[in-house]
């Protein structure tokens, strides 16, 4: 046994090795998205279930679970981004002089803008974390401090700019995935002439489900007023609690 660090360097510096990293991290992110969507859709079930789900995530393994998961996500995303940026740069330089008359036979539009759809998703990702995880907005922070994750989400999406950016980012994510999911199979060596059809179909279906699933939330909140009354009630309740000096108790209850 001689699993030297040098083999890992060689793997990373080889074209196929780096693509395998992209495919495996991509697969991890794809699975995360499916789980994230399933959880998010609880928003339509009831505020209690949604809040309980949020609470469960944060208390999993005495609060360690969510951190382990966050670190895994960050590592996967960092590897995915570094590898794809390097691959894209190498690909650009592999054709120093471009064709005067350029043409395409079969490559899809999505496959040709992977770096741009990917980078948009990255920008979105940073925004999304600041918005709902770090909660830079004091209004959202207050709702979250009172364990009102459902209300916080609804409040966030009532802002049309937020919702529109979210929808645009999801459209580009859908494009990214429509090529990306099928690509995983080819890069991992699991695609063949016989399976190409079903794999393409699966890729398109998955990306469509992700797109429709995620945008259903901002669309129903921002454009159809979903959750408006309940959010108002929650906010009134919090105001009352504060005016009665009960907010301290609520906070303590939380910890």
């Amino acid at each position: 046994m001689n699993l030297s660090s040098c083999s890992i360097c060689q793997f990373w510096h080889s074209s196929i090795g780096k693509k395998l990293v992209v495919a495996l991290t991509g697969l991890f992110l794809v699975m995360f998205l499916a789980g994230h969507l399933a959880g998010n859709l609880l928003i339509f079930q009831s505020s209690a279930d949604f809040n309980e789900y949020a609470h469960m995530l944060h208390s999993m393994m005495h609060g360690w679970g969510v951190w382990i998961f966050r670190i895994l996500m960050l590592v996967a995303l960092a590897l995915h981004v570094i590898a794809t940026v390097q691959l894209t740069a190498a690909n650009r330089s592999a054709r120093a002089t471009r064709y005067q008359k350029d043409a395409t036979m079969v490559a899809s539009r999505s496959s040709r803008m992977m770096i741009w759809s990917g980078l948009t998703v990255l920008v979105f990702f940073v925004f999304h974390i600041l918005h709902y995880t770090v909660r830079v907005s004091p209004e959202l922070k207050e709702l979250a401090d009172f364990d009102q994750n459902w209300a916080m989400t609804v409040k966030g999406f009532q802002n049309p700019l937020v919702s529109i950016f979210y929808i645009i980012a999801m459209a580009l994510l859908c494009s990214h995935l429509s090529h990306g999911v099928a690509s995983i199979f080819q890069t991992l060596g699991l695609r063949s002439r016989k399976t190409a059809g079903p794999i393409t179909l699966l890729s398109k279906a998955y990306s469509l489900i992700i797109f429709v699933g995620f945008i259903s939330i901002p669309i129903s909140i921002c454009f159809f007023g979903y959750g408006k009354e309940e959010l108002q009630e929650t906010e009134q309740m919090i105001e009352q609690a504060k005016s009665l000096g009960l907010d301290g108790i609520l906070h303590e209850h939380r910890h």
Partner: protein, 251 residues
């Protein structure tokens, strides 16, 4: 007879600036092949005292892989399953403008006009695309049972003529279709299988060293390949590379 306008890449040598030159290709017989059309145009250029358009060619019947023209942005033209030399002028309409450019890739340095240096492919073959022991003659091959599915896959991969159209068509100038076909046609057979891991690592490393791009699974290569080599070979190479590198690292 066809009257066409040609937009052709002209370049004195490897280091000089290239440019697109426009030619009037009138009275071209429909029965001419694409290379014969270039011969006619060159004859006229010569008669006018000019320098003919330089292009690679040899067999002119789609077996040698020498012809290497990018026609209207697509290597060997948009017709599927043929080389440029097998393309007929009857596929064009009078009045059309045809763009003719070399196979473009950093790993294929341009020598002159439409001629590029594809010796990077030879170096990749030299890095493992062979069987290093004597494997006998015809009757020995017949004595070795090979599963029909494997024989078919190896035969299909072996159809590669090494023309480089896959590289020229790939958005990233990747050589994966060529390398994967050359690796597969030996790896799949009992004579080639024992050296499979060494071959895969050697060829992939040489491919990377030559400065080819990385595959992004867009399948432009498969679409332009005159021998219709399948991108299944690329999936197979990806898989075999993962196995070979794990074997090298851990065993």
């Amino acid at each position: 007879m066809l009257n066409l306008t040609l937009k052709v890449w002209r370049q004195q040598n490897a280091t000089s600036e290239g440019f697109i030159e426009t030619y009037d290709a009138h009275d071209i017989p429909e029965s001419a092949s694409f290379l014969e059309m270039l011969d006619i145009v060159n004859e006229r250029i010569l008669n006018d005292g000019g320098e003919p358009i330089h292009f690679d060619h040899d067999c002119r019947e789609g077996i040698c892989g020498q012809c290497s023209l990018t026609i209207n942005g697509i290597p060997h033209s948009k017709e599927r399953g043929i080389t440029a030399c097998q393309l007929h002028m009857r596929k064009f309409k009078t009045g059309e403008t045809i763009w003719i450019e070399p196979f473009r890739a950093k790993a294929f340095p341009l020598l002159r006009d439409l001629i590029v240096d594809r010796s990077a492919f030879d170096r990749i073959i030299g890095a493992g695309g062979y069987v290093s022991v004597r494997t006998g003659s015809a009757q020995d091959a017949n004595n070795l049972p090979v599963a029909k599915t494997k024989a078919d896959a190896a035969m299909d991969a072996a159809a590669c003529i090494g023309c480089g159209a896959c590289v020229a068509a790939c958005k990233n100038a990747s050589a994966m279709l060529f390398v994967s076909a050359k690796a597969a046609h030996l790896n799949l057979l009992p004579q080639g299988a024992p050296e499979k891991n060494k071959r895969v690592l050697g060829m992939v490393r040489q491919m990377d060293a030559e400065g080819f791009g990385n595959c992004t699974n867009q399948y432009e290569c498969e679409a332009v390949c005159p021998k219709e080599i399948s991108a299944d070979n690329i999936a197979r190479l990806n898989r075999d590379y993962a196995i070979a590198i794990a074997d090298e690292a851990a065993v």
